[in-house]
Symmetry: C2
Subunit: 250 residues, 2 copies
DNA sequence: CGCTTAGTTGAGTTCGTTCAACGACTGTGG
DNA sequence: CCACAGTCGTTGAACGAACTCAACTAAGCG
């Protein structure tokens, strides 16, 4: 059974956080690092398939993803599901619940996920004591907004083939920046996930992905999507990619 | 010609801001009010149809809508346009440009719009001196994210009829809270706007709206959508509406 | 008075859906 | 160890939703 559970066993010290080493993330001052370190309550591990946060919950926690892949989604009463975005290391989750009281979406793990846990109540002291970090939280929220804008454009106005290419190019670019690929470039999603992200049926998603495969852009293997030509996907989607920019994280 | 222009003639003092009187907005402390008042640079007026912000611009300003209706959108190279969300009084616009350097979407006025103008550079002092206001900015960003989530669910998974009903119910609910309707409940959009929001063609949008009209939920008149039955629209969309919640604004 | 914009309607086509059946693979219990 | 169920991916056929093309009305404006 897929579950989430706390790991008291091992707690990565923020000073040695593996994410900080990546060039995508901005440098922290000693002061900031110290605060974040105290802000952190513990760690949590979720199996692939486990639900990390549930729509409607009043979560007392705020998380940062340390490792693994997941996704955010919403559903209609009759079960139709829409994936809103994917979460990867460095992403903040549960902010909506923290700021507005109730989660309006759910979060599920795609692979084993480990998370840093922060105390919701202490967020206000972050705002009071560390304006620079408060600014970072806003930056992250604005960035998420930007991604949702792009997804909305994609679902609303791109064709099925363009949409599929955009989605995979998008995931590939994000994951590449985070150096998530060791050898082969596998994105750990099923075609059902792709369908629920693009707003298409599984059958048509399958046929669309086959077209991308026929063009030599991707290959579907071992329940994952292997990216063969990231640039080709961006071309097929008519997508520029995100600019450079160093991003903050908590 | 539709233009935007500064009005030095008349500057509404923040203390007498007509929006603060509305119950939707949270109360401000004397301190906060004083700061916002100094933060404000002036006012700007845009005609209906004028472009307020343009994709790709490095805007030096941040705005709050004082009155009027507008919308945010993105386009693909070949001209396909997607409306992302609508802006109404109390909404902050240009935050993306302020925080991340470059606007990734454009904003256009639907009706005459008046805006409060803030200096981009002073945003950091807001974070330094007024944590409560900084928190509000994040709140606003998180709220926008929430709305985009709902739109994504709508475009991705609702049928054309449900989507149309959702959109109008959504606009109606927001406008009602802001007491934007005096007599008749007119939403100042064309069917082209509806089409570009829902990701449909104009022809099909027209046929879909006719169905809503046949059900007695709306009426299309004088280049605007008159809402006849807001609750009926929510039912038709399978949409709950947003909860209560008092919102902040700058 | 013509020109433009917004809305309407019909006909034919394309894109995406549902239904259905099947193969490959995984995990589980007998 | 095998039988069986469950998930994932694949494919064909028939249907339906949404699109394009096209023609036309009504209103607003110079």
């Amino acid at each position: 059974m897929a579950t989430t559970r706390p790991t008291h066993a091992f707690k990565t010290p923020c000073e040695q956080c593996p994410l900080r080493a990546l060039p995508t993330f901005r440098e922290f001052s000693r002061d900031e690092l110290e605060f974040v370190s105290k802000f952190k309550r513990g760690e949590l591990v979720a199996d692939a398939g486990a639900t990390i946060l549930v729509e409607g919950a009043h979560s007392a926690h705020l998380f940062t993803v340390l490792s693994g892949w997941g996704f955010r989604y919403k559903s209609l009463e009759d079960g139709r599901r829409q994936i809103l975005n994917y979460v990867m290391p460095g992403d903040l989750i549960g902010l909506q619940g923290t700021i507005m009281g109730e989660m309006q979406h759910s979060v599920e793990a795609l692979s084993p996920v480990s998370l840093c846990v922060f105390e919701r109540d202490k967020l206000m002291t972050l705002y009071n004591k560390h304006a620079s970090l408060a600014f970072d939280v806003t930056w992250i929220a604005a960035q998420e907004e930007r991604i949702l804008d792009e997804h909305l454009l994609s679902i609303g106005r791109r064709t099925a083939l363009e949409r599929a290419a955009y989605l995979i190019a998008f995931l590939f670019e994000r994951a590449s920046r985070l150096k998530l690929f060791n050898g082969r470039k596998y994105i750990p999603i099923t075609q059902q996930h792709v369908a629920d992200t693009l707003g298409l049926s599984i059958v048509h998603t399958n046929k669309t992905l086959k077209k991308l495969a026929a063009k030599g852009l991707i290959r579907w293997q071992e329940r994952a999507c292997e990216v063969l030509d990231g640039e080709g996907l961006k071309d097929a989607a008519g997508w520029e990619g995100f600019g450079e920019s160093v991003r903050p994280f908590i």
